[in-house]
Amino acid sequence: MYLEDKLKMRIRGVPSSPLLYSVALALLLGILAGNACAPAGPAPEAAPETGAVQTIQNKGSDTIVNLALAWAEAYTARHPEVRIAVTGGGSGTGIAALINGTVDIANASRAMKPEEMERARANGVEPVEHVIAADAIAVVVHPSNPVDGLTIDQLSDIFTGKITNWREVGGEDRPIVLLSRESNSGTYIYFLEVVVRKGEKENQALFSPDTLLMPSSEGISNEIRQNPNAIGYDGLGYVTDDQKTLAVAVRAGEPYVLPTVATVKDGSYPIARPLYMYTNGQPTGVIKDYLDWILSDEGQAIVRELGFVPLR
């Protein structure tokens, strides 16, 4: 930065000469490019040395990991005396770590199972559940598609390949093109369990082999936008305005509900789930402050930014 300023000063000093200017400009650009390539400038390491730095260990669900990282970043920017280490690995991994006492907060996209509770208590750990946000999955189609709503049964038949034409669910005579996220995505598993398998434990249904697996949300929205045959699903926050969101009914005869913050919160939209954090006992000190901040307006604003459903 200093160098640039000096250069500018020098340029100001010299009498106007186009050649000189262009040489100086080239130099400046070179320096700017050099700066841009260099690793980001000095990190804001200005932590005031007031007492020991406290570290919160936070681990678990991959669905939540980006949200947890964003929270940790925003919170530690405000509280430099706190360090938050966030890792993924899955809900089960996080809960196991809480039971073993190696983390302070476990992230989970499902509630803890009774047997996990038992194991925790046997280990002297008393898990306390905190609902921190909600996750809803929207079913999307091309805006020109006349179909407005589908039941879970119809969605299951569509995604297992039993229904292959929009005509069979009240649409135009068009083949159905199935779009899904890649199988490593948490959304894939959740949609499979709740929609394709209709939430039935013994149901072994799978996505049709004709399902297109898109490597990104952008891949899904791009195909939905231009293909009137397509149907796909994604986290509510990833759905853009140029896609049509379908209303979903639990079964025929029941009301069709569109996913919104309100319908997710009152539980009427069927493809939604709460997201959890678990602590050992009622949180105290820094951990309590962090969880309170997460549930504050500021923390919940980040929830909306990352495409999840905030609690308020």
Partner: protein, 304 residues
């Protein structure tokens, strides 16, 4: 006198340079061997962790321990064969035009332009395919979706074209002028000369061009992942070329990032890499045999 003196003496400089050159020559073999050993070490466990019946089945649902790699292998084959079928006539025609027909100034423009084509990053071509080509395929071929093996083959053909053109053009260029003069002296037309003298004489170089093109196509990942739809289905119907497929490369790229190291899924992905390696090895071996069988380059049997 000075020259003689220096050449008769043992020169450390020359020894050093020769050793370095030899080392870099052998390093290629060394690295290929290392890659192969690594692939086998990570991929071989798949063959006893998963039954062969499962591993070569027709369904690929890795998170439910269903590891049928057949749809992936056939997906790669369909896309690659399609890409070569599109790129070979185009590439060969371009090479013939540049080497035999085009006036000097056209050639001077075309050659660098083709090299620019080779420099386009595959993710850019993939994006182009997703946004521009796929909708056209859906609209004008009447398919349910534009994300098909055909779309992938078109993008791959574009990627393989520069390789095929430059290598084939070099081969055509290397045919001695005397051959052409001989053909003209026998009363052959320009086209007859190209088709019956120059091309057969350049055959081995053209085969190398095709093989390099295939190598480029079968190993390409990013563009293919973006435009082929990645549905792990068996491409067996008559119109399978115009339906989505999932290739081996796209599968590895999409799934390797999230897989737990050391798990069965991880080993199977490396086994898929091993299969890919084996296929390219076989292609190269066949190419070498064809070239050796074809006799020395630009040799003997021309009109046959």
């Amino acid at each position: 006198m000075i020259f003689k003196q220096s050449s008769s003496r043992f020169s450390w400089n020359e020894f050093l340079i020769e050793t370095l050159i030899r080392a870099s020559g052998f390093s290629a073999i060394f690295f290929v061997a290392l890659i192969f050993i690594f692939l086998v070490r990570e991929g071989a466990p798949a063959f006893w962790e998963v039954s062969l019946h499962n591993l070569f089945g027709t369904r690929w649902y890795p998170i439910f321990d269903i590891y049928g790699t057949l749809p992936l292998i056939l997906g790669s084959v369909v896309v690659t064969v399609g890409a070569v079928a599109i790129a070979l006539p185009l590439g060969l025609a371009t090479a013939i035009y540049i080497g035999e027909i085009a006036p000097r100034w056209v050639r001077e423009i075309l050659k660098p332009l083709i090299e620019v084509l080779a420099g386009i990053p595959s993710v850019v071509l993939g994006f182009l395919g997703m946004i521009a080509v796929a909708p056209l395929v859906r609209r004008y071929l009447g398919m349910p979706t534009g994300l098909t093996a055909f779309t992938g083959a078109v993008m791959l053909a574009y990627m393989a074209l520069p390789t095929i053109i430059s290598v084939a053009e070099d081969a055509i260029d290397a045919v001695p002028k005397a051959y052409r003069d001989g053909a003209y002296a026998l009363g052959a037309t320009h086209w007859q000369t190209i088709w019956r003298v120059v091309l057969p004489a350049a055959r081995s170089g053209i085969i190398i061009a095709v093989m390099l093109g295939i190598g480029r196509a079968i190993g390409e990942t990013m563009a293919v992942m973006m435009v082929t739809g990645n549905a792990a289905r068996m491409p067996l119907e008559w119109n399978a070329f115009f339906r989505p497929v999932r290739t081996m490369t796209a599968t590895i790229a999409a799934e390797m990032g999230e897989v737990a190291q050391g798990s069965t899924h991880y080993h199977v992905l490396f086994a898929v890499g091993l299969i890919l390696f084996a296929i390219t090895f076989i292609i190269n071996a066949v190419a070498s045999i064809v070239i050796i069988r074809g006799g020395p380059r630009r040799g003997g049997r021309l009109m046959g």
